[in-house]
């Protein structure tokens, strides 16, 4: 809705009178729109002016007005930082794994839930898989710590009991990514099913009936009716997910990060925190954040274009 207004305002005005008439006619709609518009201007657009400090040597006591402008200095530093490539790779790898292993899980789960006929069981199960979403990462990581530690954690005790080597899950670089992905799936998969279930619910039952008449089994029905019906929802969610590329959950990764797995676990978010807040390099960390948002924007635009080529609607 907001966008329509902006677009309309941007239209070169050969027919001003008509536009005015239309505006006047729907004036109450626009009045109702105002709070939303102000919300975005005040809380989303004005703060964006803060980006200016990425091009300054920002000093808190001098303010944005008084700090020296340094052009692309901070970006240069970022691109020449020895760790930069490593951090970028880690971020993209983690994102790729997220897409590959996490993204399909809610879809599969939703399809499975949809096939459950026993309403009581379905509801209970649904509630149970939603629950982890409401737990904070601190709690999830602490629970995993207690379970995975080699100082008497249950997983390692079991491994030892069955005669296997103990595995140092918490501190070995190889185990960081699997741990991360499993925790993400455990917490978010159930929550992610909500939208899919809603989309599935809107499928015309007549279609299933017709398919059954033609002798289609359960799997056939899923493949030929349910999946195509939620295809556009899947694609929209995929594009949005790609937009969040680099939102891998700062809190989560930061909690898992330690000296032993830093080589694989340091991502852009944690790096921004270390450089910006712990070391007070406001300009530098703003520049990194800016770069990160830029990657996100490019990826979303690419994904959107791809979706349109495939004949889907896209998000804009």
């Amino acid at each position: 809705m907001q966008e329509t207004v902006i677009q309309q305002a941007r239209v070169p005005q050969p027919r001003t009178s008509e536009l005015k008439k239309r505006l006047w006619k729907n004036k109450w709609l626009y009045v109702m729109l105002l709070p939303g518009v102000f919300y975005f201007i005040i809380f989303k657009y004005i703060p964006m002016l803060g980006l200016a400090i990425a091009f300054q040597d920002y000093k808190p006591f001098k303010g944005i007005g008084g700090s020296d402008w340094v052009g692309l200095k901070h970006f240069e530093r970022l691109f020449t930082e020895p760790d930069f490539l490593n951090i970028l790779t880690n971020t993209l790898l983690l994102f790729g794994m997220n897409l590959l292993f996490f993204f399909p899980v809610p879809i599969i789960l939703a399809l499975m839930l949809n096939e459950v006929r026993l309403s009581f069981f379905k509801r209970t199960f649904q509630t149970l898989v939603y629950l982890p979403h409401f737990m904070s990462w601190v709690i999830i990581v602490s629970i995993s710590f207690v379970m995975l530690t080699s100082d008497g954690g249950i997983v390692n005790e079991l491994l030892a009991y069955f005669g296997f080597e103990k595995v140092n899950f918490l501190l070995s670089p190889e185990w960081f990514r699997p741990t991360y992905i499993i925790q993400v799936i455990w917490r978010e998969a159930g929550w992610g099913t909500i939208i899919y279930l809603a989309a599935i619910a809107s499928v015309d039952p007549g279609l299933y009936e017709a398919a059954r008449m033609d002798g289609a089994g359960r799997l056939r029905q899923v493949w030929h009716i349910t999946l195509p019906a939620i295809r556009s929802v899947i694609i929209i969610l995929l594009i949005l997910k790609i937009g969040d590329v680099l939102e891998l959950g700062f809190e989560h990764v930061y909690l898992l990060l330690n000296s032993m797995n830093r080589d694989v676990a340091e991502i852009i978010d944690t790096y921004v925190y270390t450089a910006g807040l712990r070391q007070g390099q406001f300009s530098y960390s703003t520049a990194i954040g800016f770069f990160k948002s830029f990657i996100g924007l490019v990826l979303v635009m690419a994904a959107n274009r791809l979706a349109k080529k495939m004949g889907e609607e896209g998000v804009y």
Binding site: M48, G50, L51, F145, M260, V315
Partner: protein, 519 residues
Amino acid sequence: MKKKSFSILMGMVLTFSLLLAACSGGNKGGSNNPSTAPSNDTGAKTEETAKPAEAEKPTEITIMLPLNIAETPPNTIKNELEKLTNTKLTYQFFPADTYEEKLNASFATGSLPQVTYLKNQATFVQMKEAIREGQFWEIGPYLSEFPNLGKLKEEILNNTKVDGKLYSVYIGRPLARQGIIYRKDWADKLDIAAPANVDELFAMMEKFTTGDPDGNGKPDTIGLADRNDLIYGAFKTASAWFGTPNGWGERDGQLVPDFTTPEYTATMDYIKKIRDAKAMNVDFAATSKTDQVNMFTSGKAGVYIGSMQDVDSLVKDLVKNVPTAVVDTHSMIAGPQGQLASWSIPGYNNVALFPKSAIKDEGELKKILAFFDKLMTPEVSNVMYWGIEGTHYTVVDGKAKASSDKELTEREVKGYKDSVIGEPETNGMYEGFHELPARIHAEQLIVENEKIAVADPTAALDSPTYTEKGTGLQDLIKDATYKYIYGSIDKAGFDKAVEDWKKRGGAQIIEEYNAAYKK
């Protein structure tokens, strides 16, 4: 759905939301300021008209400081202080956890009050740039006018100087609180004496692990409980025993960082040996302080290396789980060559600064310093540190014994306690009266430790490169140290990390510190 396209923009903005949050917080602080100031004004005026005979009207002082408890303390102590010092005080308490944020925001908006406490040495280092820019009053030249402030220890004042000038007053802390806290009952049972050197300490940890000290027939105990902290955990304290310099040390007339010395490597080998023998929690690189403390208080671990003053809180929880437990403190652990050493902090844990934006002229500054001068008298500092006699503490043998109602004292006094300037020797306040034998022992050891204390020679020195990227570079070394202890890199790999450190700016830091040291 169209709204969703904004999510990208939101994403961009998210990155700055933290900064913003800081700004809005600052505004709040800023608006607090003027609103309290006028009310003070009127208060003072009415007093003036009411009592025209009064010679001097109370000085109005606003103080900003970190708060280490959850609730803002009531006015009990503040009122007492106002009476004693003829002032009208406004205390602005902010939670210590987010204090840096408040500090930066208030600073950015020019709303720091007349007296601004920092949080610790790290925030002080970050403020140095602003201090050089002339944002704060230099108080060095005035100190001699105030007899009590003049008592502050010269060597600690030197540590807080910026370019040789003094801008702050300090909150004193014992120099060397490091040592070990261990299970005396376990040691007695296994017939082990207090360890005199590092090898005996290792033997003790090993026996605690294998000797079934809790007598339940299961191998469920470990020697040392450590955490993911190389400084306040076990590592730095152990490194001092091996003769590693404190942060930086002089070798062949040059200042070098501790991790380039062979003693540092020896310490890494020592911890590696303990870990390989499974005489400590092998996951210590991922263990938080809470988990570490739990290991000790649940009766799983027998040795804790760190600040010996932690013994009170450790014992409090340990006896709940293991009523028969006996704990003692110990230091004076000799290194391989029989030498004794203990690393020490620069004698302060926080400072108070005087912003020029709030203090307009010399006259006002002198009035505020006069207030601090009064704070340094025994009557006033006792009120701030111990509270009100009879309510919060009683005097036993010339020492202050905290009242048994610990909660009341914590609520009413703790907030002020952490801002007392100086230490008992300089401000004359009572020493603490302790009942726990291990704590009494710890206090004696802290005095003994001071004789063998190793100071950080760079405490008063300055390196611009260090201020800029020192903390980030230190992470390289920290990671390499853990990797060495865990055996994922060898000495060559560690040396490579040190080379890397030098290449990325470490060499410059060495140069800058040495240049400053020679001066």
